[in-house]
């Protein structure tokens, strides 16, 4: 049933897309030429499978497109899933891409004299206000989040706040800005995400794609 209606796969722009591209090949997804053309303004792409379409959106928006059912499948970082926690989104496959960690960082000179035990209130610059609030609340600390969408590492130096929560991979950006990682909140990687209703009402095509991604990432199912 419903093999005829097409599946929409949402892919994130930017960093992860480069790592993801070989995986798409292995999964047998061959997008039209415009997909690989950096000058193309196109956001929706056909593939050689008439029942599979691709869309390219900001990585934070992939989860939203899937939650509302505008996309059936998507590739989304576990950081974004933690921040939004949509009950309509499943994340069955760890794609093992874009590995990094979400961490708390602060200026190196603060680390020496800082005693986290005595915190009752902290001000934190972050892209992830909900994860940050939850993280500090679990140990009884009130976090006042300053929501930024980029250049988070600049915030302490410019006097916005002393601490930040952001993704860290090599730590080079932190170091260059005189910051030290003090705490890891979670290990992050890209996941294949699925809209709940799509999985329930079109189990055959959806689970076929899930299985294919599972195979090419070598994720053992148990």
């Amino acid at each position: 049933m419903a093999e005829t209606t097409s599946i929409v796969l949402a892919l994130p722009k930017g960093r992860i897309l480069g790592e993801l591209r070989p995986l798409l090949d292995q999964a047998g997804i061959r997008p039209e030429a415009a997909f690989d053309d950096p000058d193309s303004r196109q956001l929706r792409f056909r593939t050689d499978d008439p029942h599979l379409h691709l869309i390219r959106v900001r990585s934070f928006d992939v989860a939203t497109f899937i939650a509302f059912g505008a996309a059936d499948l998507g590739v989304v970082g576990s950081d974004v899933l933690m921040e939004f926690d949509y009950p309509e989104v499943y994340a069955p496959v760890d794609l093992n891409l874009g590995r990094c960690r979400m961490a708390v960082a602060e200026p190196a000179e603060l680390v020496a004299e800082d005693d986290p035990e005595s915190w009752s209130h902290v001000r934190v610059a972050t892209k992830y206000p909900r994860v940050t609030t939850r993280h500090f609340a679990e140990r009884g600390v009130q976090a006042e989040c300053i929501r930024l969408s980029g250049a988070i590492e600049l915030a302490p130096a410019m006097g916005l706040c002393q601490r930040l929560v952001d993704l860290v991979s090599s730590g080079a950006t932190l170091k260059a800005n005189g910051l030290t990682e003090v705490e890891t909140i979670a290990h992050i990687s890209a996941r294949l995400a699925v809209n709940r209703t799509a999985w329930k009402t079109r189990p055959a095509p959806v689970s076929r794609w899930v299985e294919r991604f599972r195979e090419v990432t070598g994720a053992a199912e148990a």
Partner: protein, 409 residues
Amino acid sequence: MVQRTLLPAGMADVLPPQADHEAATVRRLMAGFASYGYEAVKPPLMEFEDRLLAGAGAALAPQAFRLMDPISQRMLALRPDVTMQVARIATERLNRRPRPLRLAYAGQVVHVNGTATRSARQVGQVGAELIGVGPPDADAEVIVMAAGVLADLGIGSVTVDLGIPTLVPALLAGESLDPALRRRLRTALDRKDAGEVVGLVRPQLGAGRAALLARLVALAGPAETVLDALMRLDLPPAAASERAALAAVAATARALASALGHPAIQIGIDPVENRGFEYHTGVTFALFAEGVAAELGRGGRYHAGTLGAGEPATGVTLFLDVVLASLPPPAEGPRRVFVPVESGPEMAAQLRRDGWIAIAALAPAADATAEARRLGCSHVALAGAVRPVEPADPLPSHNPTEFLQEGHH
């Protein structure tokens, strides 16, 4: 430009013709339930907080608006759900009625917060409760009735997804997992993240238990493809009995659906599904339609009444906003005829008896046909005869027919 009234977030006016469509849909759903013997009850909008949110209702407490009752000086809660009220009526007021007791309701509920994907805070619900009998036949009746009533409304391809939120707790009963780990495991199960489930469980409970949980996550799909594999899993006795309950309801519901002439209803299985089933004690279900991003309704087995007393029950709640969004546009209603002053009230009365919507002129009109068109009528009654009116131009924008043309997306 008129200054418009702003309503509170998540509250909305429903206008013609959608309000009529909504009322007609409620009537059809209630008639469907009534045809199975479910009798309507009408609980109040608010009750004492400590009573409404006691027992199984406690799970809904975070969603309830409260206010103080100036008469009793006690806290009241606006109902976030009707099922618990119907259970109260069944166990306290209708406790001497013979069982099984079949009750239905239609009403509005309010929630403190909408969800990220559905911002409405006031939602219409239509539901049915079957009280006083255990599984599996009662569950099958409610499930197939709900799916069938939706199919009869014109919603094609209804999928029923069966779950058993008591299975995973039964599997982990007696294991000493720390609460934080339990929470992370619940999140991983909710996201169907088998890799994460294995990573969390293996260090604590060993590879065998981890593999079993991962297998349960993977065994979500159409009943005909996953049920056999689920039955073959080697489960501890408590978990096996939960699985048996799920399998029994799945088999009974499938047989009943085909006996009742609803073979198109798809039955799916999801052994780890948990979200939205806070007070349930057995087999649960969610209703989906293809292409509609939200659940049409959900329900399942719960305990009616206080713990220790009370009785087994199962039921279904349909979410009217999602049901309406899934429906095809309404069939053409009765035709509207304009009755000018000279045709008289007797003519209007006769037309109404004949099934027309007859709109009487309140003042003489120079051009009865133009006036009929202005009022969105398809016909005009002139000189004892009913004549069709040419449809109005799409302009001007104040033409009331615009609503008729724009309705139902």
